[in-house]
């Protein structure tokens, strides 16, 4: 790329993400970006990296977090709006030294035992915690996706959060406020993860990713990242995706790898594929409160399974039948064809 590096900006030279040197990318058409989860984590997650895992209650990329644990990554900064079970597991496995988040809890079902030990008692070691509100996190992703130096939002005025998070700063508007006086507003800085993992219902082989139901902040988290891995319930033929291009939340040009991993969002859910495992959420508070139980759980379910397919098989067919969902099909729309 002929751009003077002195004047580039934002996500350090985005062009490097697709120059083919990582061995997974384009040049030929159409690119087949499908890899295994093991390959994706090996290629895109390194010790010390900043890793975003997004999915708001729906489509949480749990299987990606488990593979990061299996491969023993260390010193990660994890960026995730709702730090929930998968984050507690990654903390317990010793992968994470820093957390950037806006909600630390086991959904509405209770507490995260490991997170509380780390934060309240530095047990077994301290956890650096960068705290935001939900919209603050969303705006950090938007700023990262759009190469903006900051993003303004009407939050934080009078809150104690700026006192513990120096990244929350103010900007004076260059326009007068409604009363003619000058106006201040808080801003957040961009976040540009080294890699973002999201889970989705389906994609084609080149990475055009379709999501329905709650779409959260996944598109922005992908666009903000230097590398992006989409984990899907299924890879579908190009024609399926192309029959409904508005359903494509993430275009292929933003995706570096596609991992096929059915049921990879468990214990969260995939709209139209399987329901949420609420019983597991309820059980996690007790498991995580007891460090020995938590360690045993990781040994059995993560380290003790070679990959997510084994984890799924270990849960058993009867279990999955309990999370099965019925049909509620969308009605087709006509995109039209020139006659």
């Amino acid at each position: 790329m002929a751009v003077e590096s002195a004047v580039t900006n934002g996500p350090a030279d985005r062009t490097d993400r697709t120059d083919g040197t990582d061995g997974t990318r384009r040049g030929d058409s159409p690119a087949d970006k499908t890899v295994t989860m093991r390959e994706a984590v090996a290629a895109y997650v390194h010790d010390g990296d900043t890793v975003s895992l997004e999915g708001f209650t729906h489509l949480i990329p749990t299987a990606a977090g488990h593979e990061i644990i299996r491969q023993g990554r260390r010193d990660l900064t994890v960026v995730r709006m709702t730090a929930d079970i998968v984050v507690d597991q990654m903390l317990a496995a010793g992968c994470v030294s820093r957390l950037v988040s806006s909600f630390v809890g086991n959904s509405s079902a209770g507490s995260l035992g490991e997170l509380r030990r780390r934060v309240e008692h530095a047990d077994p070691e301290p956890l650096a915690f960068e705290e935001y509100s939900h919209y603050g996190m969303i705006c950090r992703y938007i700023a990262g996706a759009q190469r903006l130096p900051f993003y303004p939002l009407r939050s934080y005025g009078g809150s104690d959060l700026p006192g513990v998070n120096p990244a929350l700063r103010k900007v004076t508007s260059p326009y007068p406020g409604p009363d003619g006086e000058s106006e201040e507003i808080y801003v957040v800085p961009p976040v540009n993860p080294d890699v973002t993992f999201v889970h989705a219902q389906r994609a084609d082989r080149s990475g055009n990713t379709q999501v329905w139901g709650l779409t959260g902040v996944q598109a922005e988290a992908v666009y903000a990242a230097r590398k992006a891995v989409v984990v899907v319930e299924e890879v579908v033929e190009d024609e399926v995706v192309r029959s409904d291009p508005n359903r494509t939340l993430i275009p292929a040009h933003a995706v570096d790898a596609v991992v096929v991993c059915p049921r990879g969002a468990h214990p969260s859910f995939a709209q139209g594929y399987y329901d949420r495992d609420n019983a597991f959420y309820r059980s996690w508070s007790a498991i995580s409160k007891d460090k020995e139980r938590l360690t045993a759980w990781l040994a059995e379910w993560v380290h003790g399974t070679a990959d997510h397919a084994e984890y799924v098989a270990k849960l058993g067919e009867e279990f999955w039948e309990g999370l099965a969902v019925g049909e509620a099909m969308s009605r087709p729309v006509n995109y039209g064809r020139r006659l």
């Binding site: 969303i138 939002l153 709650l214």
Partner: protein, 279 residues
């Protein structure tokens, strides 16, 4: 849709309404959840949009939809507008909220255009601590850097407080530790703290706090929460004793009509027949 400033309850203390028979309705067979959601529902009269979490707020919104606010729409933090769930949802992102919904929108749109854009009339928030100005703490007990208890944090609470036209708080516990003179940490500040920080607030902050003892109310900038209404059998001194600051009492303190047979029937038969949240 304006509610008289210090008279949010249905029955004025000096009125001729059947306070006695109403008090009898507040018999031991009315649970705390039934009481709180029935009273909260009445406060939603005429409102159009509510930003609510699962549990008491959605019970209140559902009851209001069937009674005092037939056009009420519940907007969920997850991005769901106009839900028509087949089952009682267990989370704000429950799959049953999505199927048959009128709209499911991305979170940047939900927080940016809907909430910050000023489309929410009432936001429901909970908290571990509240102070007299309606500032809320949901982050930590103790010092933030080494808390005695780490709580979930803001989630979207900071944004709901900053942007909803008003905020209702339903508190199961009314004691001096929760209703405190000084928050351990301010997660979600009301408009007075925002102004002091040089930021123009967009909403009125907390206007109603509903507990098992009564209703505290304030209308906007510069006002403290005052005791506005009591449940039958509760005295102003009871509430002052349970509040960690020197609670002011409204001149026209009223008595809250207990949940009516009709409200209870709707809650028990239509809203939550399996008593998932009406515990």
């Amino acid at each position: 849709m304006t509610t008289p400033a210090a008279n949010p309850a249905a029955t004025s203390a000096g009125s001729t309404a059947p306070a006695t028979s109403a008090a009898s309705a507040a018999s031991p067979d009315v649970t705390s959840s039934e009481l709180l959601s029935a009273v909260a529902a009445r406060e939603l009269a005429g409102r159009r949009t509510v930003f609510a979490g699962i549990g008491l707020p959605t019970l209140a919104a559902s009851l209001a939809h069937l009674t005092v606010a037939p056009g009420l729409e519940v907007v969920y933090e997850s991005g769901v507008c106009g839900a028509h769930p087949s089952h009682l949802p267990e989370t704000i992102a429950d799959a049953v909220l999505i199927t048959d919904a009128e709209a499911v929108i991305p979170m940047p749109t939900l927080f940016g255009s809907v909430l910050q854009g000023g489309h929410i009339d009432v936001g429901f928030l909970g908290a571990a601590q509240i102070d007299k100005w309606g500032n809320l703490n949901s982050s930590v007990i103790g010092d933030w850097h080494r808390p005695r208890a780490r709580l979930p944090g803001s989630g979207g609470a900071n944004e709901v407080m900053a942007n909803a036209a008003e905020v209702f708080v339903v508190m199961r516990r009314h004691d001096p530790r929760s209703f405190t003179e000084k928050l351990d940490f301010c997660t979600s500040p009301g408009p007075d703290r925002a102004l002091a920080d040089g930021i123009r607030p967009l909403g009125a902050g907390v206007t109603r706090v509903i507990t098992e003892l009564g209703i505290l109310a304030r209308e906007g900038v510069g006002e403290e929460l005052r005791l506005a209404a009591l449940h039958p059998g509760v005295t102003a001194e009871d509430v002052r004793a349970a509040t960690g600051w020197d609670l002011q009492v409204a001149g026209d303190l009223s008595v809250i009509e207990p949940p009516t047979e009709s409200e209870l029937a709707l809650l028990r038969e239509d809203v939550d027949p399996e008593r998932v949240y009406l515990r």
